[in-house]
Symmetry: D2
Subunit: 260 residues, 4 copies
């Protein structure tokens, strides 16, 4: 049934990546480049090389929120003290280096297809929306699945004045519905998984990350996957998820891969 | 035959990661942390969060060398002009964002097992060594395989004064042997794939990266994989390789995953 | 005659500083802060501290262009090869660490006062403008003077859509006029000293920095100085100029001080 | 009496600057360099330029500790709440941008001359040492003076295994002695002004910075100044101190200038 085809679900990350105003823009600095040789740098055996240094917020681009990212009260997921997450040390508990790779069944919930187009700003995705989207695909959510919700926000961003505000996404009820099904991962093609409007709280983050320990994958690129699955008449695939183990970070870049 | 178990082949990356002297040490900066709440930062609906920014050389930690990393003469792999790799722009050709995910057969060539211990500094891994290591595993290298060479350098680093000098690794002949077999990826548990001694050139880089377009995975963590494969009596696995698509970078962090 | 009063001519530099689109935004990262103590960090003898790391382009904020910043042909000022300015090394010649402190007579050429208001976008400041501005002040430019030209661009930036385009400033003839007078420093309250319009070249940079070795101070804050000098009925002062000796950098932040 | 000569009291700051292990090493990244032109970057009117971005801890190199740097209890100098110094915002009170330039009498207390050589590790400079050093110079400390204490630590660092440990410097009594004299600034040619031994507290920081609001200048270069003053038979000079106004930072680089 598998074609063996792989498909990246990640956006490129670099200086031209968009970030919200309160975050640092990703940077790339060349430490050595072809110009060094044009200006006379010596080589051994003809070998020339270039290399660079990068800087980016861990919650930019396609990334996973580690369990240290969000909490309520004084404790992270599983009762770890939040006081271990601070400037001098980074996250001593639940950091990105603790996220082990996962290879599991991925289910695409294609709301763009259900709705006939990208969801509008601030639209809340409800359990009924999820149920309808999944029913159309002819599968049922099982424990351990990775559920990827396509809202169309990323692919329609050209139509919005600001990608980083008012995204459509799952709401509190949708998050609870997913948590009850004991999914392994939740991802979406928007910047914060959950519906955002004025005075945004993050109830879905608290339910999924904080209460249930479900990592969240944000800023996914799902357009190509949707098209391919549509052509294949399927909505499931093997998802391999292996974030960069950034020690003590609250998130990490990841290139989730769909194997079809 | 597959157990479905996943195993990360990546080292953690962070402020305590070792880097060679000419590179910038990885950094993590907390932009918001639990201290902000201890000092009275307001929350909406009880939601608290922490986030950070990271900086690191793209050739630190477990990473892949993109095809823009190394060349000879004036051209990168496939005839692209090297002059497109420079300060202002990064790598316009053959950058890390061009590396598509790969899911392929991985073969572990366990030289630590063949040799009865970690290879000594500056030891060159020859085609005979590769043949012997592979023969022991009872498989043959096929086109498209990902070949991972365990030298023991990373795991024995406590015994050396400096991890970043004099590594054992494949030499020019070994690189040619691999290229002739049309492998998809070559990786090793050392810092530069190839044997290093005084006056180091990088012939294996030129053969694999520059002449044959074979990405190189460096600083792999292979100890656990070797032990597990040994227990299973196997030397192959499904390798899923999905580097972070850093636009215009000459390398990228990656968490290669062995699915067993 | 001197009142002993000091006045900074520098703008604050930090995350909210404006920079042109092609440059990195200044960043400040707290490495340790009060939150660490609120969360229980231990102290010795009650001592608590905070500290941070900063990052900024050397040509942001109030800064001086070092002689390595601009050139034509293959040579920097004084015949040093430009090929010594490259990624791996920074500027090996004429870097910011070579700029020795200067204490000299400063002369404010207050074109805002001459013109009755801030200069309009793209206005070229000519030798006649400089002569008129200086004549009003009743002094003559002498060799070794630091000449600061107030255009009003910085203080009127609220009225423009973009501070980093179309600034008024000295033109080629004005630069030549200043160079002929053998001034030690030239500064202005705009982003690039010289008039900018479509298809901008930088003739004043080439004349002053490259041909005559005159460092340029950009993004000066001159409003307060102008008001104070006006009250004192003077246009000269002691200027102390002591940039940060950033090794191998092409520019450096500086807080020029007027002693009145 | 003044010769008009200026002398920088700052060390160069760059990638080869030494920093203590817990701080980030200073970095310089070229954003554009001569290599771009060697590879064909276009120019307008022959104008070529290079520029870079720098990163460094604000307490590296020759720098001033702003009043937000150190405190005890819950309040900074002058009763400002320390809770305003945190990750998200930097120092909202007493940051480096609040340090106004100072031009005042500088007094060099040359303990290397008094002692006949550099002070040994962990030596405490007492009030008697300060009195003896100043008496030799034939002046008295006055309110508003900038007192620079030469210990010889920086210039003799070649003789030590680690510059960043066990420095000689003023102790608690010396700090109190200086505070009582109402000095404007205190500086020294070591990394933390005050004597350091095992289990270091920072009483001099608390007395000078926290209780009396006296900024501290660290890592001064005093060798040349000492020699020149010795030749001139003087121990005073005009000190001009104008740190970079880094918004919200706990310290800032500065090039203090002695005008002789």
């Amino acid at each position: 049934m598998s074609t063996g085809q792989t498909m990246s679900l990640a956006q490129p990350l670099g200086p031209s990546s968009d970030v919200p105003g309160h975050r640092h823009r990703p940077s790339r600095f060349m430490d050595r480049d072809a110009g060094d040789y044009a200006l006379g740098a010596r080589t051994v055996g003809g070998f020339k090389f270039a290399e660079d240094t990068v800087q980016f917020p861990t919650h930019s681009g396609t990334h996973v929120d580690a369990l240290a990212h969000a909490w309520a009260g004084d404790e992270l997921y599983n009762g770890h003290s939040a006081s271990n997450t601070r400037s001098t040390r980074g996250a001593q508990r639940c950091g990105a280096e603790k996220l082990i790779p996962v290879a599991t069944r991925g289910v695409l919930v294609d709301l763009v297809q259900s709705a006939g187009g990208p969801l509008a700003p601030t639209v809340e995705v409800t359990p009924s929306d999820l149920e309808r989207g999944i029913a159309e695909s002819g599968v049922e959510i099982r424990a351990g699945d990775a559920v990827l919700v396509r809202t169309g926000w990323w692919e329609s961003k050209g139509a919005t004045s600001n990608y980083y505000a008012n995204e459509p996404g799952i709401g509190e009820a949708g998050a609870r519905w997913l948590a009850e099904r004991d999914v392994a991962l939740v991802g979406s093609d928007n910047y914060a998984i959950e519906q955002q409007a004025e005075q945004p709280g993050f109830p879905a983050h608290l339910i999924l990350l904080h209460q249930h320990g479900v990592p969240l994958i944000e800023n996914l690129e799902l357009t190509g996957l949707a098209a391919t699955l549509h052509d294949l008449g399927r909505s499931t695939f093997l998802l391999v998820f292996a974030p960069i183990p950034l020690s003590g970070s609250t998130g990490a870049p990841v290139t989730p891969v769909a194997v079809l």
